[in-house]
């Protein structure tokens, strides 16, 4: 997959970090401000998609990116389910909010909701990048 012109690459270099940081912010503040795991995860995935679109991806890089994003996605799904199970084992019921709720409006509050947001964000970002890079690196017919 080829990259784009140096104008696009320069603009992307300036903005991809800010987009990524905004995605992390949306995920981490999911229990306080609008957004959460799904929205922030898609923003993080969009930052990676922008990077790959602008800079292109060589064959070896594509394979490494595929396995990494598959790993992140599977980890997110498994960790979310594990959070639900821990409530069952350590607490009382499935999906029990087993961590102290803390003070309202603080970053570290609301029990396990920030943790759940982080793992869902990881899953969604991995899924977006994986689907995009699989489609973009697909070879049909005589295309090289």
């Amino acid at each position: 997959m080829r990259g784009m012109t140096s104008i696009v690459k320069t603009v992307t270099r300036a903005f991809e970090g800010i987009i990524f940081l905004f995605g992390v912010y949306v995920v981490l503040h999911g229990h306080l401000t609008p957004g959460g795991g799904f929205g922030g995860g898609v923003v993080i995935g969009a930052a990676f998609v922008l990077h790959i679109l602008a800079n292109g991806s060589r064959e070896a890089e594509t394979d490494a990116r595929k396995s990494r994003s598959a790993l992140v996605e599977s980890f997110g799904t498994f960790a979310f389910w594990t959070l639900a199970i821990v409530g069952l084992i350590g607490g009382t019921v499935y999906f029990y909010n087993f961590i102290s709720k803390g003070t309202l409006f603080r970053l570290l509050s609301a029990g396990f909701l920030p943790l759940a947001n982080i793992v869902i964000g990881a899953e969604v970002a991995g899924a977006i990048v994986l689907v995009f890079i699989t489609l973009a690196s697909l070879k049909i017919g005589g295309e090289k």
């Binding site: 229990h31 306080l32 959460g36 929205g39 309202l104 609301a110 899924a127 699989t134 049909i140």
Partner: protein, 177 residues
């Protein structure tokens, strides 16, 4: 506000028709953006920023994915245009009229627009109840991850399964060459 909403909804319907009638699939995919971004505007007007964030980013990314898929395959619209036959048109018209009557009858018994009835959820979703229920300042996250956690686990599983399906389908094509 209601006038802006109605205008946006009409714009969405028109955009859907234009996307259906566009000559190539590439312009159809771009025209689908009318629907998605109008929906984002509707979410913002109805004060649902959580949904608006997800909608605007997903709309952009799905456009990228659509265009990637179209560039990889074909942009030719393969719809076969048959001449419309009168009996089918009559049946479709009767169905539309019946559907409209049923909607008119059903919508009459709904609560007024913007005033949802919260018989069960009401006591849990007040600022006073938050510290002792979930402790999350964002109601949407509180509902999605705590009150309806099973639902979100199902959504995560659906996303995971969809990605696995995409991988399974595309890997087979890729290996032939």
């Amino acid at each position: 506000m209601l006038i802006i909403l109605c205008g946006l909804i009409v714009l969405m319907i028109l955009g859907a028709f234009v996307a259906l009638e566009a000559a190539s699939l590439l312009s159809s995919a771009v025209l689908l953006g009318i629907i998605g971004f109008s929906l984002t505007a509707i979410f913002l007007i109805l004060q649902a920023p959580d949904l608006a964030i997800v909608q605007i980013v997903v709309e952009t990314l799905s456009l990228v994915i659509f265009i990637t898929a179209i560039l990889k395959t074909t942009s030719e619209d393969a719809t076969v245009r048959a001449r419309a036959r009168v009996p089918f048109l009559v049946i479709a018209g009767v169905f539309v009229v019946l559907f409209m009557l049923a909607m008119y009858w059903a919508l009459g018994s709904m609560p007024p627009f913007g005033q949802p009835s919260l018989r069960m959820a009401g006591p849990y979703l007040t600022p006073e109840a938050l510290p002792r229920t979930t402790g999350a300042a964002n109601f949407v996250t509180a509902v999605v991850l705590d009150f309806r956690g099973y639902d979100t686990l199902g959504e995560a599983a659906v996303l995971f399964t969809a990605v696995m399906g995409v991988l399974a389908v595309l890997r087979k094509i890729g290996r032939k060459h």
